[in-house]
């Protein structure tokens, strides 16, 4: 029983990490119908901005709430700029082009970030600074719940709620939904489409930065290719929950995290990654729109 509960906690904690990244994928897709493959590399940039800013501020070995919040803030701002530039320089010139062009560009941007990361930061993994001390919040019997687990879970949930609020209840969100419905019509109604799309990328990249910092704290080994596998899994989670759906992304990520944890814990640890992509295949076969997604039939 103890083992079971511990697996469940581990799974939720892993799932929240996938969810943080899946939120960014799903939001951009929901508005632009573009799978932004560069998202997982913006997440990597977030972790590295965190590393360098904490070194610059001289707080890499001064754990505390203030260090954590300042590093998180700098990294979110930094990644927003990166996200804005990616959209401005790579995606906007292709606005009128077929969707496939944008998709291939996204893969190109992703590779560009990964390999320029290897040149600038070096390919060697670096240890992430200790900006917040981990501690046991609960050690009941054999079950351990750490501060990081709770922080990550709470951050994910609150970011999800904030995103839902922005999209459903603000003017910006209304404009985003209008653009998502039909960009051309939206611009006829006086909505500044380019500005709205830029905002989407800025918010998405800030989310990725938060993910990078939280993962860096929990697994203090960061490297330029760290986004690849976790990005793919977050993408699968977004598809599982129904891509474009905010709550779906979080639900899908939790299912993925828990499923992975139990497969590794009770069965064969070698099948961990196979499981994620197995789920993707099954979903595409039986429920192409995902758990919470709605299937839009395209009429010709």
């Amino acid at each position: 029983m103890e083992e079971f509960i511990q697996h469940l906690i581990n799974g939720l904690s892993l799932g929240s990490i996938y969810a943080l990244i899946a939120l960014g994928y799903t939001m951009v897709y929901g508005i632009l119908q573009l799978i932004n493959f560069a998202h997982s590399d913006v997440y990597m940039m977030g972790a590295f901005i965190g590393l360098y800013s904490s070194r610059f501020l001289g707080i890499q070995e001064k754990p505390g709430l203030l260090s954590f919040i300042s590093v998180l803030f700098i990294s979110m701002v930094g990644c927003s700029i990166v996200g804005f530039l990616i959209e401005r320089l790579a995606y906007r010139p292709l606005r009128g082009a077929p969707k496939l062009n944008a998709l291939i560009t996204a893969i190109g941007v992703s590779l560009f970030l990964q390999y320029s990361g290897q040149i600038v930061f070096g390919a060697t993994p670096q240890s992430f600074p200790n900006i917040l001390e981990d501690a046991d919040l609960l050690a009941l019997g054999g079950v351990h719940l750490t501060l990081f687990d709770v922080t990550i879970f709470m951050t994910t949930l609150s970011l999800m709620l904030i995103l839902r609020y922005i999209i459903n209840s603000t003017k910006l969100g209304k404009a985003m939904r209008a653009v998502s419905y039909n960009g051309q019509w939206a611009s006829l109604m006086g909505i500044p489409v380019n500005k709205i799309i830029s905002m989407t990328f800025i918010i998405g990249s800030a989310l990725a930065a938060a993910g990078g910092i939280l993962v860096g704290m929990k697994y203090p080994k960061i490297e330029p290719l760290m986004g690849t596998m976790i990005g793919l899994k977050a993408f699968v989670a977004a598809v599982l929950g129904g891509i474009g759906n905010i709550s779906g992304a979080v639900l899908g990520a939790m299912i993925m995290g828990i499923a992975e944890e139990f497969v590794v814990g009770y069965g064969a640890s070698t099948y961990r990654d196979a499981l994620a992509f197995g789920i993707l295949i099954l979903i595409l076969l039986f429920r192409p729109a995902g758990i919470l997604g709605k299937l839009n039939v395209e009429k010709v």
């Binding site: 083992e3 511990q6 060697t124 993994p125 050690a139 054999g142 993962v215 697994y219 080994k221 640890s269």
Partner: protein, 385 residues
Amino acid sequence: MFKNLALALTAVIALTSCTKKPSTDGTATSSNANEILVGEYGSMTGSEATFGISTHEGIQLAFKQINNTGGINGKLLKLISLDNQGKPEEAATAVQKLITQNKVVAVLGEVASSRSLAAAPIAQQYKIPMVSPSSTNPKVTEVGDYIFRVCFIDPFQGTVMAKFAAENLKAKKVAIMTDVKSDYSVGLAKFFKEKFEDLGGKVVSEQSYASQDIDFKAQLTAIKAAKPDAIFIPGYYTEVGLISRQAKGLGIKAALLGGDGWDSSKLFEIGKEAIVGGYFSNHYTTESKDKKVQEFISAYKDAYNKVPDGLAAMGYDAAMVLVDAMKRAKEPTPEAIRDQLATTKDFIAVTGKITIDEKRNATKPAVVVQVKGQDKYGYVTTINP
């Protein structure tokens, strides 16, 4: 039509100019009569970068010392190093390039067995002797009669830790966590298990992971439920650092054990206090009173301003064993060097007396050390073959 033709032509020109470039690089480094070219390939970047860098520094130090004292029979040694980024396929390409373009007479490398195994068939094919400083998987030297190593092999390293767990730690139950992507890790785990069960112990849980994973809590939770006295993790330092942290987070108190793949300053940087107290088998210890060891440490400190890790010592020894064979060879040809390498006997090296056996492996003792802090390893015991 013409436009397409022009495009195709430019593409062809671009392709041929690309393929030509490396060969001009190669001829630029061709040897003159007073130099002996030796190739080295290693992981200077990538997730095991400290392995490649330490080994490279050890080799460089050895070559510098030899060249300062007159070289080999009047000829100076020249080292050509290539980075394989920690990828087996790059290791194969690097060795191919060293042999066919740079025309080296011998190759030094690699640390990781997976990469030595990728490169060894190429050295064997061209009949160029290859000396691996620290690949411990038995298969490496089985590739052919041109492949040598100056370190002990996994069956020995696995049994050392099994003996240590059973006799020194008095462990009855152990868990094993293997990196299934690495030949080294799988080999060590297998021989550890055989020996530990021979000694009357019990392996209560066997888990696996893949290098580059960052989350190990599922495996560790399963291990915790089996209540082992010790956990044997024959992996490399980046993953071991993360594993130790997560084990601590789960409240696991069992002793952590490992092999020479732990030997890196990054181990403590990533693992922090969680890895302190872990034991691993290594090729040498800086705490040794031996004169040869102390001389090496002070020379290395003068050159690089840091304490040499085990892999730096192995790189130095591999280079010195090769140099010794070259000195005994009448002509520095690959065949003559190979023949002399095969007859190396009781060579006094930093990491102990090296004798190359008929399987081209080195027989020598191993030490067990305990992690105490950043670059601080306390000597625990020596285990002989």
